[in-house]
């Protein structure tokens, strides 16, 4: 898993360093996925049952998976989805307005 995460980060940064804006957005998507997988890996991979507690018990029976990490990733995915949708609309509009798919041509607001 660690190698997958590392590979994703590397690919994401490579894509973000390209000039094309579409590839920039692809890079951002990869980056958020890499972060999600990192949470998944860092919080410990266990092959466990769903953490459901029987009525009356205090602890779940047997080994169970950590639900918090999953909740975090789910939230992060939803947020990532929303932001991605926005980014796609943004590059679409930007392409319409500016007419190029090239970061080097977008220097008007730089100093």
């Amino acid at each position: 898993m660690a190698f997958v995460v590392g590979g994703l980060y590397a690919a994401a940064i490579y894509m973000m360093l390209r000039r094309s804006i579409v590839k920039l957005v692809i890079g951002l998507v990869l980056l958020s996925n890499a972060a999600n997988l990192l949470i998944f890996t860092a919080s410990g991979l266990t092959r466990g049952a769903p953490p459901l507690i029987n009525a009356g018990d205090v602890l779940p029976p047997g080994i169970s998976a950590d639900p918090l990490a999953q909740a975090l990733i789910l939230t992060a995915i939803v947020i990532g989805f929303g932001v991605l949708a926005f980014a796609v609309v943004l590059i679409h509009r930007a392409f319409e307005v500016v007419g190029v798919d090239d970061m080097d041509k977008m220097k008007d607001t730089d100093t």
């Binding site: 973000m16 804006i21 920039l24 951002l28 980056l31 958020s32 890499a34 972060a35 999600n36 990192l38 949470i39 998944f40 890996t41 860092a42 919080s43 410990g44 918090l68 990490a69 975090l72 939230t75 992060a76 947020i79 929303g82 932001v83 926005f86 980014a87 943004l90 590059i91 509009r93 930007a94 307005v97 500016v98 970061m103 977008m106 220097k107 008007d108 607001t109 730089d110 100093t111």
Partner: protein, 511 residues
């Protein structure tokens, strides 16, 4: 009916959310949205002032959302720093809402200006008040999405270009932030900031802790526009409507600064010699690059944007010195800066309305035509440069004094030089915009129609506030002092969140 005082902690988040939802429901009625904008932010200001008083009395206010006990549930915590920041959000929210009455066109309102405005305020307040690090991430994202959409309202070319840079760098910082949270959770097994602080003290692998600390520093550094990650800010802040610029300038980067203050006092306070040394260098370079960038600019709002960067440096300097007085100075500086900077942006908007340009070369003669505006520009401008008796003087004075006491001579020298250069930029604006005659041959833009009274009100209000902070600084100073005490003595925070005896019980169970 026994409403506990802790409810106040949730209200600064709930009120803007409700106002935003209502303005979505009244999508068709612009009048209703405007009313909601003003009264919603007025209500927010009232609630936040109440919260400030309650926090002053109780020390910490904690609310466990949904009655799930900490450290398992999400907590909202209000200490002095958070309460002060929420009050400032209320002030800026009200000022921009009033300003928007005549500063935002119907076309922008149709794209959803007001719902986004409320969502932004909710996100900012949520980030200030949460006591859970993942929740902090969520609020950051709420704030960011709202700010993205506000940034491109209107859809001009410059806005698109600015937005792409802004979006990219902020998403990058969010991804780093998320990675850092993941590693931190792997290390400590908890997300509650107080609990993390307790458990991180026992972690033996200090190398990994420092790595995580650096990840947080980079992530929040990007949000706060510190050196060397500040490029997105001057590239985007001058592109949207002025009301939006003022809102961003007042609040957004300060959320990053607040997060730095919170994380580097509460959680990463074990290896101060290493992390805060880096912060010190970041602070100095931020101050210098920001002010030098501003000196080279000739566009009203770009100058101001670069000054945001340089002022961020002062705040981080306060954190980096890490003495009680320096933290007081940092907090005081945040308070002064938010009010002054938002006001300067609003003034640039009014200038634009009067003269039809943001370029210094094309402006002029405003002193002759509008002496009042010139006076109200002088107040925040001189305050920004740090001239007595305005608020900026005391803010800079405290920080520099703390620097002298800590014997950080280089930082003191940089801070003084930057103060002088700030004065230079402000005098430049003054000369070009107000003092010199209206340049010949420039097409005189027709003064905008419509009443400008709503633009004047917030400018006058904020300018008066700047003077008041300068003249009657004692209560403000005491508030900053109290918040610095709370920041440096983390046991109060931890005890308030987790309950007394939690730390002892944890150590007991380890044996």
């Amino acid at each position: 009916m026994n409403v506990s005082v802790d409810v106040l902690v949730a209200l600064p988040i709930v009120l803007p959310l409700l106002a935003g939802a209502l303005s979505l429901v009244f999508w068709r009625s612009h009048a209703a949205q405007r009313m909601l904008g003003v009264f919603g932010s007025l209500g927010l200001l009232v609630v936040s002032v109440l919260l400030l008083f309650a926090t002053w009395d109780h020390g910490h206010l904690v609310m466990e959302m949904g009655d799930w006990p900490a450290p398992f549930g999400i907590v909202l915590v209000s200490d002095m720093l958070a309460a002060i920041m929420v009050v400032l959000t209320g002030i800026i929210g009200l000022a921009t809402a009033v300003y928007s009455l005549s500063g935002v066109s119907v076309r922008h309102e149709r794209y959803g200006y007001y719902p986004l405005f409320h969502l932004l305020l909710a996100g900012v307040n949520g980030a200030f008040l949460t006591g859970d690090i993942f929740n902090l991430y969520v609020w950051f994202e709420v704030m960011l999405v709202a700010s993205f959409a506000l940034l491109i309202l209107g859809g001009e070319r410059a806005q698109m270009e600015g937005a792409i840079k802004y979006v990219t760098l902020n998403l990058l910082s969010s991804a780093l932030f998320l990675s850092a949270i993941g590693l931190l959770y792997g290390l400590t097994g908890t997300l509650n900031m107080a609990d993390i602080a307790v458990k991180l003290a026992e972690v033996e692998d200090t190398g990994l802790v420092t790595v995580i600390a650096m990840l947080f520093m980079v992530a929040f550094g990007i949000k706060a526009a510190a050196f060397p990650f500040f490029f997105w800010l001057p590239a985007s802040y001058h592109t949207p409507k002025v009301a939006v610029s003022a809102l961003f300038a007042g609040l957004l980067t300060k959320v990053g600064v607040y997060a730095l203050f919170r994380v580097f006092t509460l959680i990463f306070n074990h290896d101060v010699g290493y992390t805060h040394e880096i912060l010190l260098w970041i602070a100095m370079l931020t101050m210098l690059t920001g002010v030098l960038g501003a000196a080279a600019q000739f566009e009203f709002r770009r100058i101001l944007s670069f000054h945001i960067v340089s002022q961020i440096g002062y705040m981080i300097l306060g954190l980096a010195l890490f003495t009680p007085l320096a933290i007081v100075g940092g907090v005081f500086y945040i308070m002064h800066h938010i009010i002054v900077k938002a006001n300067l942006f609003l003034i640039s908007g009014l200038t634009y309305q009067l003269k039809g340009s943001h370029e210094l070369k094309q402006l002029g003669g405003l002193y002759r035509s509008n002496p009042m505006l010139a006076v109200f520009f002088m107040v925040p401008a001189l305050s920004l440069a740090g001239l007595p008796p305005l608020s900026g003087f005391f803010a800079k004075f405290i920080i520099i004094r703390a620097g002298i006491e800590a014997e950080a001579w280089l930082a003191v020298a940089v801070a003084l030089v930057v103060g002088l250069l700030t004065l230079y930029s402000m005098v430049k604006i003054w000369n070009e915009v107000f003092w010199k005659a209206q340049p010949e041959g420039v097409a005189h833009a027709q003064p905008a129609s419509g009443p400008l009274i709503w633009m004047w009100l917030p400018i006058i209000g904020l300018a008066l506030m700047t003077v008041m902070i300068g003249l009657y600084g004692q209560p403000i100073f005491e508030m900053a002092e109290r918040s610095a005490e709370q920041l440096l003595d983390t046991s109060g925070y931890i005890e308030a969140v987790l309950g007394a005896g939690y730390v002892e019980a944890l150590q007991e169970s380890r044996r």
